[in-house]
């Protein structure tokens, strides 16, 4: 990441992702749904209750029998507890809430919980990372393991550590989730692009977070 981009990211006064975080704070305290409850009614002050939470997502959900990512957890809270309509993937509100929750983990090490329940999904994500796919017959690893640090067109190829999602991409001119990033990558590989929140994306997200374990959460990050 260029020095200039990091400078934008590290100063809350210039980081445009903070606009979503502030929106998320408003949404956190807004009552919603038939239950007429806000996130804060159950969880209280997010600065305390949501600390380090995003650092361990995707986390296993016993009800679904599989890991859920942060966006899916927010939506399951919305439909289950608030009795409200789930927010659409990549909608401004869902990104804002996810950014606000993940912001509370900034600077804390990523630590996904890997146990017997989540291991099969981690393995599935790992398999997806090394699987060649698409018309270009590429795997994630061919760029992000074998050629990281080199350039793909003007951009440096990173090591695929999703430390700052949802993040502000200058190319997007807005905030986006890891799902959006993964869909971009797959489209570039000319592979079949699954829907937002598809199981295979969550598995891959779990594997990528496991790869990034120990690295610090940067949400809301800024990337070129």
């Amino acid at each position: 990441m260029a020095r200039e981009t990091r400078a934008i990211q590290d100063d809350d006064a210039t980081n445009p992702g903070m606009l979503w975080v502030l929106d998320g704070e408003t949404l956190w305290n807004n009552k919603a749904g038939a239950a007429d409850r806000s996130c804060a009614d159950c969880h209280g002050d997010a600065r305390e209750s949501m600390k380090a939470v995003a650092a361990r997502y995707p986390a296993f959900d016993p009800a679904r029998g599989r890991p859920l990512n942060l966006e899916q957890r927010i939506n399951s809270c919305r439909s289950g507890r608030q009795k409200a309509a789930p927010l659409a993937y990549e909608s401004k509100d869902l990104l804002a809430l996810a950014a606000y929750v993940a912001r509370q983990s900034r600077g804390l090490p990523i630590k996904p919980a890997i146990d017997e329940r989540t291991r099969p999904f981690l393995e599935a994500g790992k398999e997806a990372f090394y699987r060649r796919q698409g018309q270009l017959n590429l795997s994630c690893a061919q760029c992000h393991d074998d050629n990281w640090g080199k350039h793909l067109a003007g951009s440096v190829i990173p090591q695929a550590h999703p430390t700052g999602y949802p993040l502000y991409r200058l190319e997007w001119q807005g905030l986006g989730s890891l799902g959006r990033r993964l869909r971009n990558c797959l489209a570039g590989m000319r592979a079949q692009v699954p829907a937002f929140g598809a199981d295979e994306f969550v598995d891959l997200e779990l594997y990528l977070m496991w790869r990034a374990r120990g690295m610090k959460v940067e949400t809301p990050a800024v990337r070129p």
Binding site: A13, T14, P16, M18, L19, Q173, G174
Partner: protein, 106 residues
């Protein structure tokens, strides 16, 4: 939810140069882009940003379609007296956001 964030020191010495950073939430739609079906997306941008210090305009910027979304405008002014700075962003489709920040000058 139109939002803007202003960051500046709350107090300063008389005559000191203070840096002010402003960030406004806006898509800055250029008016040149098209949808997938070929229709032009109408222009929707911030046209003007002004900053007044105790009612006196100290900074003004005209914004144009090539300016990125969520424009960050950073500038400086000289702290002359205690009071308030008011910031206003005005744009297409009736977009108006006003922010006020107090400053104490010693």
């Amino acid at each position: 939810m139109a939002r803007a964030v202003v960051t500046m020191p709350a107090q300063a010495k008389r005559g000191e140069i203070v840096e002010i950073k402003t960030l406004a939430q806006h898509a800055m739609e250029t008016g040149f882009r098209r949808t997938q079906t070929g229709e032009l997306i109408p222009r929707d941008i911030i046209r003007r940003f002004t900053c007044s210090y105790n009612g006196v305009e100290v900074y003004r910027a005209d914004l144009h379609p090539a300016i990125a979304a969520n424009p960050l405008i950073a500038f400086t002014t000289v702290a002359t007296e205690s009071g308030t700075l008011s910031f206003q962003w005005v744009g297409d489709n009736g977009y108006t956001v006003t922010e006020i920040a107090p400053i104490r000058v010693e």
